[in-house]
Symmetry: C2
Amino acid sequence: MTAIETLPLARKLGAYMALSQAERTLISDLHQSCKPVAAGRRLVDQGQSNHLAYILSAGWACSYKILPNGARQIVDFHIPGDFLGLRHVLLHTSDHTIESITDSEVADVPVKELLEILSRNPRLVTAVLWAASRDEAMVVEHLVNIGRRSAVGRMAHFLLELGSRLKLVGLGDKQGYVCPLTQYHLADALGLTAVHVNRVLRQLRENGLLTFRHGVVTFDDYHALSTMADFDPTYLDQAGTTSIVTMRNRCPAQ
Amino acid sequence: MTAIETLPLARKLGAYMALSQAERTLISDLHQSCKPVAAGRRLVDQGQSNHLAYILSAGWACSYKILPNGARQIVDFHIPGDFLGLRHVLLHTSDHTIESITDSEVADVPVKELLEILSRNPRLVTAVLWAASRDEAMVVEHLVNIGRRSAVGRMAHFLLELGSRLKLVGLGDKQGYVCPLTQYHLADALGLTAVHVNRVLRQLRENGLLTFRHGVVTFDDYHALSTMADFDPTYLDQAGTTSIVTMRNRCPAQ
DNA sequence: CGTAGTGTTGACCAAATTCAATATCTGTGG
DNA sequence: CCACAGATATTGAATTTGGTCAACACTACG
């Protein structure tokens, strides 16, 4: 078992609120069955319910929906420390598929155990609720991105957002990051075709804004890129720490 | 004060799980200050935090984001019984604006009170978390809609979804419903221009699928419309009641 | 090697936008 | 009750964006 401090989920929730020793132990308990998963394996299936939630410890994954016409829309990418299938567990239906992109490691969490832990720990529920809210904020930003930005703007904004998320867990910086996504992944996430993704990437490269080659995203001009993409990482910030602190002072902890 | 049974929020949460008398009373307490709001008034402002959540008792509202270039993306429309500003309260920042579309009635809920109620009532937290999850499911569907469907498909799917939601609160049926949205609202929600919205509506009308005129949506051929739009209302269903019960019983296994 | 997945590019096409002009509706004041 | 203004809806023509089809290059890996 890994030391509690290095568990991505603990680190993530810990960024929201200070965790008591008991709470840390509970989170640790959720990681009992951490196991490797090969790339391309489906963890949650659209339309089915396998009653498991996962914590992604290592690797990349994505959530997507397949339309009857065969088109795929990727809703979100998941990086280490992310909770997988949370909504799936709560709604009891799987409205989308979650699939590993790279070889990964996941801890699967039985629903029963999760619900018991949460029902006994209102503070933890609050933290999880907050993590879920942050996820929704990302989906909303994604929606705005697809609905109201040009292809180039979408791409720039998306790669910047991914950079911010990765920086938070120590997997990237303002220079860039390692990124296992194919142009097909990008296309299905951004509502474009793979061919057009290629052209857009070329355009960004030729304009000296960013380079995405050989699995590496390099920000050639971070400032100019942020400007042209209207990128504002506020919605990702953990400014929430302040928020939760406020919340904790107002309501009696349990 | 209205009888608890007729409060939209109570009705909504009650569809998820049976509510105890104490819980009903708590929900009723949240409606202390129900007041009228004129059309076009902003309730929550992008970038500000006014620390209030609302329950929409009557009328229509919408959440949207304005991009620096002036474009607007409507994230969701709200109808009676919807919770407004939930994420806003939890994240302590307002990442989007919520505005009334018609003259409406809202009950504003002070954050402090809401948090106190939730921290003392884990079951209620679960219900709220679930309502929030349903909202996210709608945003996800919206994302898929914009990312991977043609303009006509988007419009059809969107108007069908709205019909399902309204039917749930008794404001519409398979024939159609009264709808105060302008073509600009539709455009900003679907990532189109108002001009193109007009053409798309004409096309749907001329194909005998649906008519949207003078503030009324009429389904001329519900079945054909659902088919062409790949509409599957599963993600809106309240099958959840079963879900929560089942979740308690099931488990481990894979 | 050879194959499958991925990336790259060009020529052509379709969908949606933009610009612009009118029409219609709705509420308001005279 | 009518005239008017502002918002909303409708339509056409020209343009842009992104998609489709097709060919080929590069890379990794058995």
